[in-house]
Amino acid sequence: MQIRSIIAGVATALSLGSAAVAEDAVKIGVVTTLSGPAGYLGQDVRDGLMLAADMEGGKLGGVPVEFLVEDDGLKPGNGRQIAEKFMYDENVKLLTGIIFSNVAGATVPDIVSNDAIYISPNAGPSSMAGAGCDKNYFVVSWQNDALHEATGAAAKKLGYKSVFVLAPNYQAGKDAIAGFKRTFGGEIAGELYTQLDQTDYSAEMAQIRAAKPDAVFQFLPGGLGIAFLRQYDQSGLRDQIPMVLSEPSTDLVVLNAVGDAATGIVSTAHWNTDFDNAASKDFIKAWYEKYDRPVTYYASQGYDTGRLIASALAKTGGVDDIDALREAIRAADFDSVRGDFAFGPNQHPIQNWYMLDIVKNEDGTMGAKTRELLLEAYGDSYSAECKM
């Protein structure tokens, strides 16, 4: 640790000279996952973030910014290395971009202890939301458990008595099921943990059919979820047992890959494309002008991260005074695409959660329609443990 801080000191001293030259542009480090099956998540966060700057002509809050983007390849070690390179070699004070909780777990503590600020556009692991919170750590997206607590609340509201739950056998999967149970409170008809690289769920389908639950909840993100939804339809279960899902299982990429087999699913989310507010409309318009792929939750989270940084930079004019920057970020003085937004005591969002219906649009693509408000100004289950 000591050696590291000496290196950090030397690096800071050396870079003072060059910092003076390139003083005009604030460097923002983006550590994200761009390769592999989950690469589209990082791609969308990055593009949403950059879109916020593009719309201001390369500035955020009137301050010119430069994005340094690198792929962590979903490897925690890589994420940490990239973050250190950004901080020591490039003197970056503001970082963002990490998609996966395991990468965040290895990388974020290193960033925040170096007196740099990290703003999470996606992962919000429980380990850093409670006792492990930090004044330099902000989450724009959600706390991981809250995603599934919203779904549990939806299942309860829909009147389901028994639900079959399944998730991959890893930390986020277990958190998902724990979160769902916390707010659902009904009977669990069956609980299954699948392998993280498993894409054939025929055995699980047979068990669901045998258990005859009122509904199914699964947390299988990305390609896993696509495979599951399609097989669910092929096995004829879609017409018999409804499914309630959380946000990561129903992004537009998943829905469009699944096609018709996704209609009728009930989902929960903190933002949706049909939200009637100016920030959301501007964002969606700008997105489709620039990209020809569907706009996802991840893109909206990247964009909100950009808008948050803009609101802070507009007040501070730069990143030289880290205390002022932190205060400005904490104020969350920006118009989020999701509407009302504030940071709780652990600097995780307090926001509304909504129930959505998955429907087929008139143009044949799949989309989500907001049905009703589910949880109002909802924080997370860990903020009470956070002592800052």
Binding site: P37, T194, A206, A210, Q234, S235, G236, A257
Partner: protein, 304 residues
């Protein structure tokens, strides 16, 4: 009872898929002595090419030949450009080169198709499920996979045991040097076998498209289980690949489906879940270790 039958069918279908992959791999390994890690990439290429054509022309059946032929051509290219240079080299060099091929083909797919998974349309007749026995519903498409797999197994049996090429293949997997000494154009034979393996991988890739998602890195997901099948079945043996593939498919599915419940009789439910899913994901590797203990060369080794 119905549940057990349904799970048996699921296991059979998974096993057939493993067999399609393993048949090519075991021939390539057995005859040329090459460890081809890029076999999963050929599977991915077949899936992408076929699915793209199916999407473009809106028909599942158009995608089928496109996927097969593209995978085969990719196989020919890989064999002539890279693998041909590796026959005389150490296994480590082969692993290194074919691993590089995985990285290259994954990036190529990202450049051409992007990172987002793509979707195969299924003919309406195949998209539902039918009632095989009272209460036993089974997806039509999975039945089709089982049917196609059995057909391919039959055709391969005829090809290997009843044709001249098959005779050379059998001879090649038993004693490579003798075949060469007898004046057979072994280079041609190698290219053909590699292309055949690629074609089978492409078939497996395209057939899984509508069930799983067609996306970058899909090949690596099935590659490990495929190698386990090759090792258990015995290197170079199609019969071994078939029996080991179907056997592993059934064992894996049965363990996943029933082990946690069986354990619940002895353990508290939470522990039974944890232990059950843990042990069932180790299942096929434990089986491999057991088989190798009794038959170090696999179940049906080619006489080498």
């Amino acid at each position: 009872m119905i549940l057990i039958l349904e799970q048996l069918l699921n296991g059979l279908q998974y096993g057939i898929m493993l067999f399609l992959m393993a048949a090519g791999l075991t021939l390539i390994f057995g005859i040329m002595g090459v460890i081809n890690l890029a076999h999963g990439s050929l599977y991915m290429i077949g899936a992408f090419a076929g699915t793209y054509a199916a999407m473009r022309y809106g028909s599942f059946w158009i995608g089928l030949p496109v996927g097969l032929v593209t995978a085969m051509i990719a196989g020919f290219i890989v064999e002539t450009v890279v693998v041909r240079r590796l026959y005389q080299r150490d296994h480590l060099d082969q692993v290194l080169a074919t691993f590089a091929l995985i990285l290259v083909s994954n990036q190529l797919i990202v450049l051409i198709f992007g990172r987002q998974p793509i979707f195969t349309p299924l003919p309406a007749a195949l998209s539902g499920s039918i009632e095989l026995l009272p209460g036993l519903f089974y997806p039509m498409y999975r039945l089709l996979i089982i049917g196609v797999g059995l057909l391919v197994a039959g055709l391969l049996y005829l090809l290997i045991n009843r044709t001249r090429i098959g005779m050379l293949v059998r001879a090649g997997s038993t004693n490579r040097d003798m075949v060469r000494a007898l004046g057979v154009n072994i280079r041609m034979l190698y290219t053909l076998v590699f292309g055949l393996g690629a074609l089978l991988a492409g078939l497996a890739g395209y057939m899984t498209g509508p069930i799983l998602s067609v996306q970058v890195g899909m090949g690596e997901q099935i590659l490990l289980a495929t190698f386990v099948v090759v090792v258990i079945g015995g290197v170079g043996s199609i019969k071994g690949a078939f029996i080991a593939g179907v056997g592993l498919g059934i064992v894996d599915t049965m363990l996943r489906a029933f082990l946690p419940q069986i354990l619940e009789a002895f353990l508290p439910p939470a522990d039974a879940q944890a232990v059950g899913s843990g042990v069932s994901s180790m299942g096929i590797y434990l089986l491999m270790a057991l088989v190798l203990l009794v038959r170090p060369k696999g179940l049906f080794p080619a006489e080498n």
